[in-house]
Amino acid sequence: MWYKIQYKMNIEDLIQGCIKEDRVCQRELYKLFAGKMMVVCLRYAKDKMEAEDILQEGFIKIYDNISKFRMQGSFEGWIRRIMVNTAINKIRAGKRHFEELDDRMMKVSNSQDVLDNFSAKDILNLISEMPAGYKYVFNMFAIEGFSHKEIADSLGIEEASSRSQYAKAKKYLQQKLIELQKVKL
């Protein structure tokens, strides 16, 4: 009988291994977080290719700076923060137009019940298809938990704009969810 022996390293071991440029640890770390971080990147990127670019760049930063992680707080949060910052930097570098959208067209009903009918993939697709101006603010505020001030600083916009954009993004997403539900039905 063959036994597959698997040694599961904890995060600290992985971090120490990555600090020592251990390729096995680097690969394990990648396996552990690449899927989740890919979702983060997809939320900000316009397409999968750009998401992978962000993911690659983010992991390079992680490997290069992993020794700076102080073993305090969530390591996943640290990684996620790097990915988000990388995505935002990408947005800035691309000088992507941050458009403020008008929400006059949006008639949002109660969408909370609607969410139960959608998978995470559907929601992700919806977020990805959101206009950039909504997408960044919504991601940063609703999912990453940034404050509007932080969002304003990161995106180089007014804090009020961040607030208004988030409200509009939320309405936009809810509307899309309702529309999508109608299609499904």
Partner: protein, 461 residues
């Protein structure tokens, strides 16, 4: 509000959701990071290379540039303007002999203090190893004194251009000659010449920088201002292995089959050699040795001898029986005989060479190709000949003065010993004749001699 149920639900759904990136993305990440690793790697090598180069350059600069304890300097207090140096200038008026002695003492290894440098005529500061390694000719004016071959400069003994030798240092195979000039104008002619006999080595790249400071006129005048040429005096023991050739075809010994043999002659010689131009030297001298020409052979001759023939007869007598009768006849017969002879002709020979030599060096050795005409002068000679009347060897002595001409060629190999001395050997050949006919001898002799000179050279400046 973030705490709204809507955002919370979305966040929870997305938190548990994963999307697999492309399979090769990890490898792409690693590849993307590789240049940084390489960069670090190359940076390390660049640093190491820079350190190595810096160390090498520093080492060479250290070796080449004069330092406080490692420099050759012509320094005069009198050229320094401050008071202290003026005082030193007074000290510098000590006699040349004292200064030179001081220099020589320093050259022998004493490391002078910095202050002492100012008080001597020419201070030598150089570690022996430095000089041994250095092959430099340079001055502090950054003039390239020896763009050409330094040997050319050294051997160029043009009396007008050759500066006065201030001091010299000899350390093993390294020979350093420092010269001073009479005026600033002549600074280009200031020559610190180092001979290491590396004929094929580009010298300029190897010479340590030397500090040459202008020496005041008065001081220079106190130095021997004679333009000096090096003078080489060779004292040597001379070994000649000659085989004479009889020039007189009627010579009886030849007819009788006697052969000339190699014979050794020993003597001594003194040569004086002066630089002429470039690498050419001219030399002359006196060689004195006893030339011994030996002939050995077997002389065959006939001699009449008395031969007695005995005849025996028998007579048959009836009474007495057989009677034996013996008779003896005497006759003269010619008998062939041979005799080993060994003859020797000796000359007390004095040779006066007049020749030239071409000098060059290789590694630790110096070489010179020598060729000279020889004037041979014999004041005493003795000859041995056979008296054919009695087959005895007769010896004839003569004090007639004989002259002869010859040529000599050889290659002389020097090996420096010390300050002024070199040992040398010179294998060579000589060809010359002795006109014995003008003496009491019956023939002339010519010789092709292999010669070996072993001696010592003393260099005088």
């Amino acid at each position: 509000m973030k705490n709204d149920l809507f955002e919370k639900q979305i966040s929870e759904k997305l938190d548990q959701f994963q999307v697999a990136p492309s399979r090769d993305l990890f490898n792409d990440i690693m590849k993307a990071r590789t240049p940084q690793v390489k960069k670090a790697f190359w940076s390390t090598w660049r640093v190491l290379s820079a350190l190595l180069i810096t160390a090498t350059v520093s080492f060479n600069v250290y070796k080449l540039l004069p330092t406080q304890n490692d420099e050759i300097a012509f320094s005069e207090k009198s050229i320094v303007s401050d008071k202290e140096n003026q005082e030193s200038a007074q000290e510098s008026k000590v006699s040349n002999s004292t200064s030179e002695q001081g220099v020589k003492n320093e050259m022998l290894g004493a490391i002078p203090k910095k202050q002492n440098r100012k008080s001597v005529n020419a201070t030598f500061k150089s570690s022996p190893n430095e000089i041994a390694k250095g092959d430099i000719v340079e001055n502090n004016n950054a003039n390239t004194l020896f763009n050409g071959n330094v040997f050319e400069s050294y051997f160029n003994a043009n009396s007008k251009n050759r500066p006065t030798i201030d001091y010299e240092k000899h350390d093993g195979n390294s020979h350093l000659y420092a010269f001073v000039t009479e005026s600033e104008k002549d600074i280009d002619k200031v020559m610190v010449n180092h001979m290491k006999n590396k004929l094929f080595v580009p010298f300029v790249n190897h010479f340590p920088k030397l500090s040459l400071i202008k020496v005041e006129q008065q001081k220079i005048e106190s130095v021997n201002r004679m333009t000096k040429k090096p003078i080489y005096i060779d004292l040597f023991q001379l070994n000649s292995f000659s085989k004479p050739v009889i020039s007189n075809s009627q010579f009886q010994l030849q007819n009788m089959g006697a052969l000339a043999t190699n014979s050794a002659s020993f003597g001594w010689g003194v040569n004086v050699e002066l630089p002429l131009k470039g690498r050419w030297n001219v030399f002359s001298g006196v060689h004195s040795f006893n030339l011994n020409n030996q002939y050995k052979g077997q002389i065959k001759y006939s001699e009449n001898e008395e031969k007695i023939t005995k005849t025996t007869r028998f007579i048959n007598d009836p009474i007495k029986g057989v009677i034996t009768v013996e008779s003896f006849d005497t006759s003269l017969v010619s008998v062939s005989k041979s005799k080993n002879i060994e003859l020797q002709n000796s000359y007390k020979l004095i040779q006066i060479p007049l020749g030239m030599s071409y000098n060059f060096g290789y590694k630790s050795f110096e070489f010179s190709l020598n060729a000279s005409a020889m004037l041979n002068w014999s004041r005493e000679q003795s000859f041995q000949s056979i008296n054919w009347q009695n087959d005895q060897v007769n010896k004839t002595e003569s004090s007639n003065i004989l002259f002869g001409l010859g040529v000599n060629a050889g290659i002389k190999v020097y090996y420096p010993l010390s300050n002024h001395f070199k040992v040398f050997v010179m294998p060579g050949i000589q060809s010359y004749s002795m006109n014995g006919v003008k003496s009491s001898y019956s023939h002339n002799e010519s010789l092709l001699a292999k010669q070996l000179q072993v001696g010592i050279r003393y260099s005088v400046f």
